[in-house]
Structures are given as structure tokens and as C-alpha cells.
């Protein structure tokens, strides 16, 4: 059996080599840099790199919590994102799928709409 699997996996060998090469390069660079690179202090080097505003210092009041509205927005984004994920392939093949496809996709949008209605009525879209 082993030789058969060998044949099946043959095309992936370059990919494996690529992984090994990439991992080797990363390990080499990180270990070598402290030994051969110069060390000069610069405050900017210690900043978070391209990660938006500084998350600290945390507000003392409230135990460093941040507004829960951020999470809500992220969740709503996923809701509509997933809707799009399914709408796109449907739109591409709408003609072939015909009436059946249309009914199904409308059912899908309506059921996502329930969640949307809940969020809307419960004030999830109010941004104070």
C-alpha cells in the first residue's frame, strides 16, 4: 500500500520542501540576528508595529474593560459576511438554479433577517 500513497503524495513534495525552507529561513534569521546585527536603541522600535492606537494604559475604572459595542459590530459583520459568502455563488449561477434556487435563497435571507430584526429592535444598532 505504501508505494501507492507515495505516488499520490508526489506532487506535494515541492510544497513540503517550500515549508521546510521557509521554516529554516525563519529560524536562521531569528537566531542569527542577535549575534551578527548591530544593537542601537530607538524608541520607535519598541512600538506595536502597524497595530492602530496604543491599547494601554488601560482605564483603571472598570477593570480595563472596553466598550462591548466593538464585539457586537464584529459579530454583525460576520453575520452579513456569511450572508455574502452564500449570495455570491448563487448570483453567479442564478439562471441555472431557477425558481428553486430563488426560493431557497429568499428563505435564507429571511432567516438571517430574523437575527437582524432582533439586533435592531434590541438596540444593537444604536451607537452612543
Amino acid at each position: 500500500m505504501a508505494w501507492k500513497e507515495g505516488i499520490v503524495l508526489q506532487p506535494y513534495l515541492p510544497l513540503l520542501l517550500m515549508f521546510v525552507l521557509a521554516a529554516g529561513f525563519a529560524v536562521f534569521s531569528v537566531t542569527a540576528a542577535p549575534y551578527i546585527g548591530p544593537r542601537r536603541y530607538n524608541r520607535a522600535k519598541l512600538d506595536a508595529y502597524e497595530c492602530g492606537i496604543e491599547p494601554s494604559p488601560q482605564p483603571v475604572v472598570g477593570g480595563g474593560r472596553m466598550p462591548v459595542a466593538y464585539y457586537l459590530t464584529a459579530m454583525l459583520f460576520i453575520l452579513f459576511d456569511i450572508e455574502m459568502v452564500f449570495l455570491y455563488p448563487f448570483a453567479v449561477k442564478a439562471d441555472d438554479l431557477g425558481l428553486f434556487g430563488l426560493v431557497e435563497i429568499v428563505l435564507f435571507i429571511v432567516s438571517v433577517g430574523f437575527a437582524y430584526a432582533y439586533v435592531w429592535r434590541r438596540g444593537g444598532l444604536d451607537w452612543n
Binding site: 501507492k4 449561477k93 441555472d96 431557477g98 432567516s111 430574523f114 430584526a117 435592531w120
Partner: protein
């Protein structure tokens, strides 16, 4: 999928699948009602939500039960629908009936607002535990009625889970049933920290289990080039494929399923979650999740992996032994009633696994019957647990149950009867359930396993009897708990569980006939 893409004409040949809406009606009714429940939450004022949700729930179960009954009279064998994704056969219908009946009982307990004033659920889930606002909400009479649609969604997921005829549908159903449960675990009105801890633990471990399931699914797809159970079964018949993929895939898939069924070494979440979750939710999980998980295990083993059974049989023997041992031995050391029943459920999962690996017709029918009996007994047991309370809520520590029979003889008698049923004493359904499962296992040549199961039953009987002795032959503690007079809903749920436990113990014939009516259709 690959064969599908390779067809001449490719995607253009896409056909609309046949959908038998009448056969799926019970499932569609529960799902539809859950959606309506979400709209009720969205558009009705707070005081109206609870009554409307209760009416909606009762109507849902009435109509779903009605359509299920009509289905049973019509189709003797069963069919597959939605392009073979769902198999609505006799075992599926039996499990649907079981799930609907147990779900109804659990929903009654969820709806109860008299045992715990205002209901067992938190008035506002966003309040931080332990704050002044939290103490205030514990005294309020509102509750998060979102728990109704959540429970219906979970139930619909379970119904899909037991009827799923391919692994992908099964995975979606697994998520639909799990996600609402994670949330419901964290909604307790009192002792909210432990409740939220339970929810988080269940979520994290459940996410792991789902990942295992999905990985197994992917490997099996690589093995059989199909996610359909029937195609996997066919592929195991041929010999020129990689066995590594098959066994790795099967193992990972089964870890996911055994986790949900809280079997053996995959049980670690069970005691914490059973203890922390609001008791009606624990009842719902203890009864319905077990039924759904074992329904799926039965179908996967019997439909997809029957031909390769001699390769994995002994692995599951070991798992069953570990499960029975852990449940029986660790159950003895428990001092909390809810944790004790959780360990009892782990031992019972071992017995159920025994029936599931007996891959014959008796194995199927006996496991189905055992699920029915176990579900109702557990449901009623948790119902009784929710009644014994003191000023801080439920008094679940065993020392608080000492001498309960002197305070409220009826509750003590009912709980003793249920414990005897869990132990498997004759004239209760637990005895018949164990008897048929062990008989099926013996017929399949699993003698050593049955001996272990009998020993485990004897060990487990010790901790059931210990509670009975505690209730009847100990002096009540001076500041012991009072027993609430249950409202109509909890009374109905407990009565349902007790009556079915007694009925199936005395007259098991009709349910056994129903369970053994026919096999899987795929």
C-alpha cells in the same frame, strides 16, 4: 464532490433536490417556531414575552408531535430526502419522538416561574456577577426569555443530528445543537459565576470536540471521496485505499461524537457543566443531548463503519470500560447531587456504548429503548433536584439532603424511585433497559464487557442507595433546606418522567416493539 465536478457538463448539470416537506414537518415546525420565538423577543414588550413564548412552545410541540404521529402511521420503512442528506427512517422517527417528549418536559421546567420566583434564568445576562446590580436582579421577577428560542434551536439541531445521513449535515446539526446550549448554560439566575464558568468550559471543550469531528470528516472525505455515510460504507468494502486515512478519520470523528455523549475519557466537562448550568438546562442537556449524541453514534457505526467493525471494535470496548469505571468509581466520591447524577450519566453512557457497538438489530433497538428510559428518568431526577432549596437557591450538597424524607415524604419517595431506576432495579424502566442492552451485547459475543458492566452497575448502585439511606435514615439538619411546592409546569415534567419510568418498567412491550420496528435507511 470530486466525482460531481468531473461529470460532463459540470456545474451546469445541477439539479434541484427532491425535498419531502411532509416527512420533515416535525423538524421544520420546531425550527420555524424557534425563528418566530426570535421575532417575539424582538417585537413584544417585556411582560408579554413569557406568556407568548410558553403558548408558542406548547403549540410547537403539539403540532410537531401530531405530524410525527401521522408520519408513523403512514410510512413503514422510511425514506431519504434533500438529496440524501436526511434519512427519515424508523430509528430517526423513534429518536424524534423521544427528543420531542423529553424536550417538552425540559421546556416545561425552563418555563416554570414558581419554584424559583421569576424563573431559573437571569433577568439581565449582561450584569456582572457579584455586583450590587446582580443581587438586585436575583430578587427581580423578570427572566431572559431568549432561552425559549435557544432551546428550540438546540432541539431542532438534535433532531437533524439523529437524522443526518452525511457527515457534513451532521456537523452543521452538531453546531446548531451545541451553540445554544453553551449560551443557556451561562444564564443561571443564582450562583452566576459557576454558571458562567460552566458555559465557558463547555464552549472551549466543545469547540475542541467540533474541531476533532471536522478533522475526522476531512480525512474520511479523503478516504471515500464522499461525506455520505453510505458511500463511506461502500468504500470500506474495497481494499485498495489508504487504511491510515480511514482509521485516523474514524478515530477523530468518534472523539467528537463521544465528547457530546459524555462517554469515558471524553467526559471531563460533564460534572462541571451539569453542576453549573441552571437545573432545567441541565435536565435538557442530560436527557436530550445524550439521546441525540447516541442516535448519531448508532447511525455512524451501523451505517458507515459496520464492514470495518473488527478493526475498531476493541478500541470501543476499552472506551466503554473506561466510561463505566469512571462513572461508577468517581460517582462514589461526589458530595453534590448534580455532580453525582453527572457521573451516573457517564456510567450510563458506557452502558449505552455497549449497545451501540453490538452492531445487530437488537443492539439498535435496545440502545434506542435505553435512551428513552434513561432520558425520562434523568429529566425527572433533575426536576426533583430543582425543588430542594434554601434561601440561597438550590441546596445541592448531599449533607443538606439528610433526613429529607421526614420533611417531605413525597419528594423523597419520588427521588428514591428515580434513583432505583438509574440503578436498574426491577419494576423500573432502568432494569428493562439494562436487560435488553446486555442481552444484545451477549448475543454479539461481548461477554467480558457485560461482566464489567454488571460490576459497574453494582458499584454505581452503592451511591444511589447511599442517597436513599441519607434521606430516610438520617436526622435532618437544623437549618436544612425547605422543599418548594412545585408549580404546574415542574409538577407536569416530574410526573411525566416518573410515569414513563414506571410504565416502561412494567409494560415495556409497546416501546420495545416500536424501537425494533425497522432499521436504518440510507
Amino acid at each position: 464532490m470530486i466525482s460531481f465536478l468531473a461529470q460532463p457538463g459540470g456545474l451546469d448539470a445541477l439539479q434541484a433536490p427532491e425535498i419531502d416537506y411532509w416527512a420533515m414537518a416535525p423538524l421544520l415546525i420546531v425550527l420555524g417556531a424557534a425563528c418566530v420565538g426570535v421575532l417575539v423577543e424582538a417585537f413584544l414588550a417585556k411582560p408579554q414575552r413569557w406568556p407568548v413564548q410558553v403558548i408558542l412552545t406548547v403549540l410547537t410541540f403539539a403540532f410537531a408531535g401530531l405530524t410525527l404521529g401521522l408520519r408513523l402511521t403512514k410510512d413503514p420503512k422510511g425514506l431519504t430526502t434533500v438529496a440524501g442528506a436526511l434519512s427519515i427512517d424508523r430509528p430517526a422517527l423513534f429518536l424524534w419522538g423521544t427528543l420531542l417528549a423529553l424536550g417538552f418536559g425540559a421546556m416545561l421546567m425552563i418555563a416554570d416561574r414558581s419554584v424559583e420566583p421569576g424563573g431559573s434564568f437571569v433577568a439581565s445576562a449582561a450584569i456582572r456577577p457579584g455586583t450590587i446590580q446582580d443581587r438586585a436582579q436575583a430578587g427581580q421577577h423578570g427572566m431572559q426569555t431568549e432561552v425559549f428560542p435557544l432551546a428550540l434551536f438546540a432541539l431542532a439541531g438534535m433532531m437533524t443530528f439523529v437524522a443526518a445521513n452525511d457527515l457534513l449535515t451532521m456537523f452543521i446539526a452538531l453546531e446548531v445543537m451545541s451553540l445554544p446550549l453553551y449560551l443557556m448554560c451561562g444564564l443561571a439566575r443564582r450562583r452566576r459565576l459557576i454558571s458562567q464558568e460552566a458555559a465557558l468550559k463547555y464552549f472551549l471543550l466543545g469547540a475542541f470536540a467540533s474541531a476533532f469531528f471536522l478533522y475526522g470528516l476531512a480525512l474520511l472525505y479523503g478516504y471515500a471521496q464522499s461525506v455520505k455515510l453510505a458511500d463511506i460504507a461502500e468504500a470500506t468494502g474495497g481494499t485498495d485505499r489508504s487504511d491510515t486515512l480511514l482509521y485516523a478519520g474514524f478515530g477523530l470523528l468518534l472523539v467528537g461524537l463521544l465528547f457530546k455523549a459524555s462517554v469515558g475519557p471524553f467526559h471531563t466537562w460533564t460534572p462541571d457543566v451539569y453542576q453549573g448550568a441552571p437545573t432545567p438546562v441541565t435536565a435538557f442537556m442530560g436527557a436530550c443531548t445524550k439521546v441525540a449524541a447516541f442516535g448519531a453514534i448508532l447511525r455512524v457505526l451501523q451505517v458507515a463503519f459496520k464492514a470495518s467493525s473488527w478493526e475498531w471494535e476493541y478500541v470501543l470496548w476499552a472506551v466503554a470500560i473506561v466510561s463505566m469505571a469512571i462513572g461508577a468509581i468517581l460517582g462514589i466520591t461526589q458530595t453534590d447531587v448534580k455532580r453525582m447524577i453527572a457521573y451516573s450519566s457517564i456510567a450510563h453512557a458506557g452502558f449505552l456504548l455497549l449497545g451501540s457497538i453490538a452492531l445487530n438489530h437488537d443492539g439498535l433497538s435496545s440502545t434506542l429503548f435505553y435512551l428513552l428510559t434513561y432520558g425520562f428518568t434523568t429529566l425527572a431526577a433533575f426536576g426533583v433536584v430543582s425543588l430542594v432549596r434554601n434561601a440561597d437557591g438550590e441546596a445541592t450538597h448531599l449533607s443538606q439532603w439528610a433526613g429529607l424524607a421526614k420533611r417531605s415524604p413525597l419528594v423523597a419517595a419520588v427521588f428514591s424511585f428515580l434513583l432505583l431506576a438509574l440503578a436498574g432495579i426491577p419494576l423500573t424502566s432502568g432494569f428493562i433497559g439494562k436487560f435488553v442492552v446486555f442481552r444484545a451485547a451477549l448475543a454479539e459475543g461481548m461477554g467480558p464487557l457485560v461482566v464489567v458492566a454488571l460490576i459497574a452497575s453494582a458499584v454505581a448502585a452503592f451511591f444511589y442507595l447511599r442517597v436513599i439511606v441519607l434521606m430516610y435514615f438520617s436526622e435532618p439538619a437544623a437549618d436544612g433546606p425547605a422543599v418548594s411546592v412545585p408549580g404546574a409546569f415542574t409538577t407536569a415534567a416530574i410526573t411525566l418522567g416518573v410515569v414513563v419510568t414506571l410504565l416502561l418498567g412494567v409494560l415495556p412491550g409497546f416501546a420495545l416493539d416500536w424501537a425494533g420496528a425497522a432499521g436504518f435507511v440510507f
